[in-house]
């Protein structure tokens, strides 16, 4: 069974068809790449999957459950973790605090008990803290635990953001341009980290990525979007050399189409 099964999604904004009949699948433990030029609808697709947009047509199934109608936070609680193009973190808080915040759905005490400082909350806070530190260790950010997010370099923030999403304990990790702001070496390291995380945490990954070498290196399967339509899909090597993909990226045929 597919972890994520996006079936024939369409969405319109005003007169603009942002996505037309797009279907995407992610099997367990797969790393799936989503490529395509700017404005192709990749982030829109993410927003449909995670519940920020309601598609006009089509269904989203997650772990076998139809989640098309349920709100964002419930999908997150089910195990959908995502990052944002513009880093999504509480910038005034420290790295560690962010990772604790991200464990929201794992906290067992009620909001009220926390405010009153009821008995078990103190102990549980310690556990949350420990788990956060473990994740920071795992992604190699432990030395930054007590730094404020606001002062960190952009590339580091992106890594922290991914760590925060890992703290939500996701079944699927959806990354929106994880390597933007990173140099080639950092991107390369990031690929290694991603492969390791999949193995250690048993993650399924769906990622939007512009850096094609990284996509080729880590993805098991790739979808290419263009103008809201699925241009092609397949093994990374096949997609990369697919003539229409080459032209979509180089933008030559695009002009001839009309």
């Amino acid at each position: 069974m597919a972890v994520l099964d996006v079936d024939d999604i369409s969405i319109r904004f005003g007169g603009l068809q942002a996505l037309g009949n797009v279907s995407v699948k992610a099997q367990e433990l797969e790393i799936v790449g989503l490529i395509g030029p700017n404005g192709a609808g990749k982030t829109t697709l993410f927003n449909c999957i995670t519940g920020f947009y309601r598609p006009n047509d089509g269904r989203v199934r997650f772990l076998g459950v139809d989640v098309t109608e349920i709100p964002i936070h419930q999908r997150a609680a089910m195990g959908m973790g995502r990052t944002f193009q513009q880093v999504g973190l509480v910038k005034g808080a420290t790295v560690l605090e962010n990772l604790i915040t991200a464990q929201h759905t794992k906290v067992e005490y009620s909001a009220g008990a926390g405010i009153l400082g009821a008995g078990n909350t103190w102990a549980e806070e310690k556990v949350l803290r420990q788990r956060a530190m473990e994740i920071l260790d795992l992604v190699g950010l432990a030395h930054l635990a007590h730094r404020r997010v606001a002062g960190l370099p952009y590339g580091t923030m992106k890594n922290v953001e991914m760590a925060a999403v890992l703290a939500t304990d996701p079944e699927i990790l959806m990354l929106d341009e994880p390597t933007s702001g990173m140099g080639p070496e950092e991107s390369h390291t990031f690929g290694d980290v991603l492969l390791r995380l999949r193995k250690e945490l048993g993650l399924t990954v769906l990622m939007i990525e512009h850096h094609v070498p990284l996509v080729v290196a880590v993805c098991d399967y790739v979808y290419c979007l263009n103008f809201g339509q699925l241009l092609t899909e397949g093994k990374p090597e096949d997609v990369r050399t697919h003539p229409e993909v080459v032209t979509a990226y180089l933008g030559e045929e695009a002009e001839e189409v009309a």
């Binding site: 519940g51 964002i72 936070h73 997150a76 944002f84 999504g88 005034g92 605090e97 806070e125 925060a164």
Partner: protein, 351 residues
């Protein structure tokens, strides 16, 4: 076993001794502070008990406003309206329904929470500038209508007799400090637990918060409830401090005064808020005594100027300026941690 654990935790007893030594000057500083707040008032010939207690009341109200503006990023320019609800309801419960002061205190906190919750429901739909306007209009409506209702004495106000235990000026002042300590405790647990973190995430970015599984609307409402309960307590103290409550004085000037001490004190900085409230509420009494009433009007004009200067140049407020001291007092070094610069978000999290 327990001993072994303790040794494992502190393998080096010299290290441990050092940490005890480290705390000696800090404990001394805490002692001086406690003496100033608790013992010094006893030695004053004319102790402005009203004024000192009022300072504590406003500190609690400012901590309440800090929950809304600082943590939740929701503006309220009608906070005096919630303070008033707490004041009137607690006085009403005690005077008309013959309940004890303690029941009144509980009723004050609850009614403040409920009134604030209702505003929270409005805030789910109305945002930013428009919410500011709604809260402002609410404050005015509360002053003109709500607090002049028949049950609240039709404009003549409600008696708020203190219980025997709190009749003395000093007694009431100490009791106010106890309530303040309670509010500080809850504020601390709020910030360091699930609810406070969720509320901060919602302030910073609702989409990110939702993607962490946080139900955005629910936590906005929780922030309003917590804030309302705090200010309801402040309102109760306000009523019983004066012995009666009427709608005079619970006006827009009070709302703006609360915004002033909260923002200049420092959003998300309870210590800064307490220090600035103490300075700004208690000092003018003495200035007025020594230099005459006109001086206190000048001081009144100084407040807004301070507010603007803070907004423009020191968005972290007093809290940011005294950071080295608060850091040291709580066991850290006498400096600002690296990367702790205040993130400029202004009064509200979003534009």
């Amino acid at each position: 076993m327990a001993v072994a654990d303790a040794v494992l935790d502190h393998p080096d007893s010299a290290e441990r001794a050092k940490s005890v030594v480290r705390w000696i000057p800090r404990l001394a500083a805490w002692g001086v502070l406690a003496a100033f707040l608790l013992v010094f008032p006893l030695s004053l010939e004319t102790f402005h008990a009203q004024r000192w207690s009022l300072g504590v009341v406003f500190a609690i109200a400012a901590l309440s406003l800090n929950v809304l503006i600082g943590y939740a990023g929701q503006i309220s320019l009608g906070h005096q309206g919630f303070l008033g609800v707490g004041a009137f309801v607690s006085a009403y419960v005690v005077t008309v329904h013959q309940q004890t002061f303690w029941v009144g205190l509980l009723a004050g906190a609850l009614s403040g929470a409920v009134a604030s919750l209702l505003m929270g429901v409005v805030a789910l739909r109305v945002r930013g500038l428009y919410l500011a306007l709604v809260t402002l209009a609410y404050g005015r409506m509360a002053q003109e209508t709500l607090f002049n209702l028949g049950i609240f004495g039709k404009g003549s106000g409600v008696e708020a007799p203190r219980p025997a235990l709190l009749l003395g000026d000093h007694a009431f002042y100490y009791f106010s400090l106890v309530v303040l300590a309670g509010v500080l405790f809850f504020n601390w647990r709020f910030v360091r637990s699930k609810a406070g973190r969720a509320v901060s995430a919602v302030r910073e970015n609702e989409q990110v918060a939702a993607s962490y599984g946080i139900p955005v609307s629910r936590y906005k409402l929780i922030a309003f409830v917590v804030s309302g309960a705090f200010v309801g307590l402040a309102g109760t103290l306000y009523a019983f401090l004066n012995g009666r409550v009427d709608s005079q004085g619970i006006n827009f000037e009070m709302a703006l005064f609360l915004v002033l001490i909260t923002v200049v004190g420092g959003l998300r900085s309870p210590a800064g808020i307490l220090v600035f409230t103490a300075l700004f509420e208690v000092l003018p009494t003495y200035v007025g005594d020594y230099f005459g009433i006109r001086w206190s009007f000048w001081l009144l004009a100084l407040g807004p100027a301070l507010l603007i200067i803070t907004l423009v140049f020191y968005p972290g407020g007093v809290g940011q300026q005294i950071k080295p001291i608060t850091s040291w007092m709580t066991g850290g070094p006498f400096r600002v941690h690296h990367g702790e610069q205040f993130v400029q978000e202004g009064v509200s999290g979003r534009p």
